[in-house]
């Protein structure tokens, strides 16, 4: 049981990053029906930007700022990554997608693939071919979730009953990850559902010319969508760095793919769907470790679930889509973007 919950926690944390990236996918898809394959690489650039920001602020591998300085540094580097990615996203939209507004549907898709290749090599040229380390400035604490005992003395005192290896643990990094993700998601949902900008986005998504006829500046709305989506990817990059401690030019491809799956699973174009899909995929990915090795146990999959992770995710996705052809939340909420 401990085992299961620990995996669940880990999955949710990993899923939060997927969710943030999936949001960008889903927004861009929602508005111009483009599978923005370059989005994963924007995330990669985001992770590199946050490292760059930290080193600009003088953080080396060994410095451990505390207190308000730490908070400012964290916020600063997160914002730096977000703004950097956002500008990059807008730039990409201008150069690679805008000229294709009226082109056949698949043309921008290929353009996106091209951009993805460009960004990947750019990451490589910038930071080399190897992993680069993300300074671990955020102090690490482990919070034991279970099994615990709570003293009745006030203030209540929580103690962990087992060794770390046998408890469900959530770390300060995990918490930060979740907090940033949740804050951003809530902000985004509010933006899209409640603001005039959000309504304009949905209008552009449904009929570009008609939206223009309502007085909407279509180009600006599309740019904003890319701006926001890419900013979220930048934030995801920052969280990723904190969470896993290193980054490399090639992570974008994998993350992009998984996040895309997440977006589709939730119902592409749907914001809450993207979040749900991201979390679900995150958890699912970890849960595959529970599938036993059929060569040993007689049931399960040959070589165990770990070797089949991607396949299992896809199988589940396909199953879900067979029964819910527009993703988990795709139909119930007709809202786009």
């Amino acid at each position: 049981m401990i085992h299961f919950f620990q995996v669940l926690v880990i999955g949710l944390v990993a899923g939060a990053i997927y969710a943030l990236i999936a949001l960008g996918y889903t927004m861009v898809y929602g508005i111009i029906e483009l599978i923005n394959f370059a989005h994963g690489d924007i995330f990669m650039i985001g992770s590199m930007l946050s490292i760059a920001a930290l080193s600009l602020m003088g953080v080396t591998g060994n410095s451990h700022p505390t207190g308000i300085i730490l908070v400012l540094m964290l916020i600063g580097s997160c914002l730096f990554a977000m703004v950097g990615c956002a500008l990059l996203g807008v730039l990409i939209e201008r150069v690679a997608y805008k000229p294709l507004r009226n082109a056949p549907k698949l043309a921008p898709l290929i353009s996106a693939i091209g951009v993805s290749l460009i960004l990947e090599d750019a990451g490589k040229l910038w930071n080399g071919i190897n992993y680069i380390r993300f300074p671990q400035i955020f102090p690490r604490f482990d919070y034991c979730l279970w099994p615990i005992s709570i003293d009745s003395v006030l203030p209540p005192h929580v103690t962990c009953l087992a060794k770390p290896a046998d408890s469900v643990i959530v770390t300060s990094n995990n918490l930060l990850d979740i907090i940033v993700a949740v804050v951003l998601m809530v902000a985004l949902t509010w933006l899209v559902a409640r603001t005039k900008m959000g309504r304009a986005m949905r209008a552009v998504a449904q009929d570009r010319d008609a939206a223009a006829l309502m007085g909407v500046n279509v180009d600006r709305v599309i740019s904003s969508t890319f701006f926001i989506g890419a900013a979220l990817a930048g934030a995801a990059g920052f969280i990723y760095g904190l969470q896993y401690g290193s980054t490399i030019y090639s992570i974008g491809f994998d993350y992009g793919l998984v996040a895309f799956i997440a977006a589709v699973l939730g119902g592409i174009g749907n914001i809450r769907g993207a979040v749900l899909g991201g979390l679900l995929i995150g958890v699912l990915e970890q849960m595959t470790s529970f599938i036993p090795d059929s060569d040993v146990y007689g049931f399960g999959l040959p070589h165990g679930g770990g070797a089949w992770t991607r396949a299992v995710i896809f199988a589940v996705l396909i199953l879900i889509l067979v029964f819910r052809p527009s993703g988990l939340l795709g139909q119930q909420t007709p809202e786009k973007v």
């Binding site: 056949p104 290929i110 592409i268 991607r310």
Partner: protein
């Protein structure tokens, strides 16, 4: 009129004959005397004459080379006849000649200099620059080409005969002049001691044969041209009535289509672009492709095997692109997991056509015999792939657009994992080694021979193109396109959406299976890590860049992507490493290597192509239309993308509105 049969053309047609004779002699002479043409011819005849100087040819290659040479020169002479007969005479000499130099001669030189692929790539840039420059110059000179419809004319019987005669004269004179030039050149070579005595026989023979052949070939060209002329009605005096009615018909078409149609009618302003001329080009291209392995060493020197191997690889991409084109281009179903069927095809032959089969079944496998089974297995594997296409397609049918894409993507990821993890059968990650090559009588065939594979892929491509065209133009092809355009309307026109879509998946997978079998046999090993999402993406890029739905387009797209990525970008460092290559200068930049930016360059090229030609390099007529009419396409508010389920599905009704 035609009482005096003379080869000396009347003064008024002399101009047009000179125009085309010069225009064709230019490239022909460049090929013959600057490049390898004469070398090939001489080699061929030295082979026949038994001179020990020729080491390049065995008897079979000798015959092949002879056929190629004959085809090449004959076609060009006949073309001279055709062009003089088909020309409306409204375009100037200089213009034509400059066009020929920029569009044919320069590329010939580039190809000679840089090799086939790089040369063609450079030529494309030259072509682009030239057409840009030409339009600039035209604007500057305030020159507009004559309007196309004005050249619509009928030819009386008499006029036709006269044109044929003119063509005959052109053929004759073209060949004669060419013979004289060759003679002079050879005399110079002979004096310089570069031509062996034995070849003198050939030189004399050629000087006699060429004019005679020219006479008949010119006539042939002329007759070919006349087949596309509008015939005047015999009885009535006003023959132009035919042209008028045709003109009216053409005028009712949109401008673009009328232009297309007018090109097909002789006389025309641009006979080089006419379908008649294209016949001749086709002969040239086919002869070149068929005899390429023989003439390659003569054209480009060492490394024939390497080039043929590369073309063999490019070839299966072509097949894959053709297959994917059915799914994506015709039926409009986005498939991001096409690699799955390629993998299935590869594994079918990998498991069957190797000792793995013996290990699995205990049946003794005789490699000498098993190679024969390759042929039926091509079809079997393709059918198995098609079957899987259908099986995998089935659950996806309720899905639309990008949901479908993700499911296919899923299959693309799942299938290789299955092959990797079911190692009891597939040998898992280690892959299968020693996959047999096909067997054919009289052909020494193993995994390192390149020529048989070159022909095999050529044959397979021809088959696939043929099948593609047939399918496209059939009832089924129309149904696919209809589904792509509008599912509801298609369904209401009696098209069974489920079956038709499954057939598209199946047909696409079928071709992929063929490519897979070929791939397994040619490579000699199959391993699961060669089938990735990025493969599927590349196939898709090939199809889109070439032109969705356009068969020549996807062929060009596949070749272009392969050539750019592997023949050009993948080789830049190799080239730069050679001190006598111009790229060598890049080596002086510290730490610079092309492969550091290979992906970036490729990405930029992809983006650039797509932006400048969003409809693809060779768009299908349909797609061209689509692009230009985009604004008018009203996003069918209430149906279109709201349609997330096929009619009949339980949730369908809630998701759709039809009016």
């Amino acid at each position: 009129m035609s009482s005096v049969r003379t080869l000396l053309p009347p003064p008024d047609t002399r101009k047009v004959i000179i125009k085309w004779v010069v225009a064709l002699l230019l490239p022909l002479c460049v090929f013959t005397f600057v490049w390898s043409g004469e070398g090939i011819v001489n080699n061929v005849f030295l082979g026949y004459l038994g001179a020990e100087t020729s080491t390049t040819f065995t008897w079979t290659t000798l015959i092949e080379a002879t056929i190629f040479v004959a085809a090449l020169y004959m076609v060009i002479i006949a073309l001279a006849g055709y062009l003089t007969a088909a020309d409306s005479g409204r375009r100037g000499w200089i213009e034509t000649w400059v066009d020929i130099v920029a569009q044919v001669v320069v590329p010939l030189l580039l190809v000679q200099l840089m090799g086939l692929i790089m040369g063609l790539a450079a030529s494309i840039i030259v072509w682009g620059a030239y057409s840009f420059g030409r339009s600039r110059v035209r604007k500057m000179l305030n020159y507009t080409p004559p309007p196309p419809l004005a050249s619509l004319d009928t030819l009386t019987e008499e006029a036709r005969a006269q044109r044929v005669q003119q063509a005959t004269a052109a053929g004759f004179w073209f060949a004669t002049i060419f013979a004289v030039i060759s003679l002079v050149a050879d005399i110079i070579y002979y004096v310089a001691g570069l031509v062996s005595n034995t070849l003198l026989i050939w030189i004399v023979a050629r000087t006699i044969i060429l004019p005679i052949a020219g006479y008949f070939l010119g006539q042939l060209g002329g007759r070919t041209a006349m087949r596309r002329a509008l015939k005047a009605k015999e009885n009535g005096a006003n023959g132009n009535g035919v042209a008028k009615s045709k003109e009216r018909q053409l005028a009712s078409l949109s401008l673009a289509r009328a232009k297309e149609k007018i090109r097909e009618i002789v006389p025309t302003d641009q006979p080089l672009l006419g379908p008649g001329a294209q016949r001749f080009y086709m002969i040239l291209v086919v002869a070149f492709a068929v005899f390429y392995p023989v003439i390659d060493p003569l054209l480009f020197g060492y490394g024939t095997d390497g080039r043929l191997a590369a073309y063999g690889d490019a070839g299966y991409y072509v097949i894959l692109a053709l297959g994917l084109n059915i799914v994506v281009g015709f039926a409009g179903l986005l498939d991001l997991g096409y690699v799955a069927f390629f993998a299935i095809g590869s594994y079918v032959w990998g498991l069957f056509g190797s000792s793995q089969f013996q290990l699995l079944t205990g049946i003794t496998v005789q490699p000498t015999i098993w190679g024969w089974l390759f042929w039926p297995m091509v079809i079997v594997a393709a059918l198995i792939a098609a079957l899987w296409g259908i099986i995998l397609g089935a659950p996806t049918l309720r899905l639309r657009g990008d949901y479908l894409a993700i499911v296919t993507l899923g299959f693309g990821e799942i299938i290789p994992v299955i092959f990797r993890e079911l190692d009891k059968y597939t040998n898992g990650i280690n892959g299968i080694v020693g996959v047999y090559s096909p067997a054919l009588p009289g052909v020494n065939w193993n995994s390192i021979t390149t020529i048989p594979y070159y022909y095999l892929i050529l044959a397979l491509i021809v088959l696939c193109v043929f099948a593609n065209i047939r399918l496209r133009d059939s009832r089924l092809g129309r149904a696919w396109i209809a589904i792509r355009e509008d599912e509801i309307a298609a369904s209401s026109s009696g098209i069974n959406l489920v079956n038709t879509k499954l057939l598209a998946f199946g047909a696409g997978a079928f071709f992929s299976g063929i490519a897979g079998v070929y791939h397994a046999a040619k490579l000699g090993t199959v391993s699961p890590d060669n089938f990735n999402f990025s493969d599927s993406i590349i196939y898709l890029a090939m199809v889109v860049i070439g032109g969705l739905g356009s068969i020549p387009g996807v062929i060009v797209g596949a070749i272009a992507v392969y050539a750019i990525n592997l023949q050009i970008l993948g080789q830049l460092d190799t080239l730069a490493a050679s001190p006598d290559n111009i790229l060598h200068v890049f080596r002086s930049i510290p730490n610079f290597a092309f492969n550091n930016v290979r992906g970036m360059i490729f990405g930029i090229i992809l983006v650039a192509i797509v932006i400048f030609r969003p409809e693809g390099l060779i768009p299908s007529a349909r797609r061209k239309r689509e692009l230009h009419h985009e604004e008018q396409k009203i996003p069918e508010a209430d149906e279109g993308d709201a349609l997330e389920e096929p009619p009949g599905a339980p949730d369908f009704e809630e998701s759709v509105r039809v009016e």
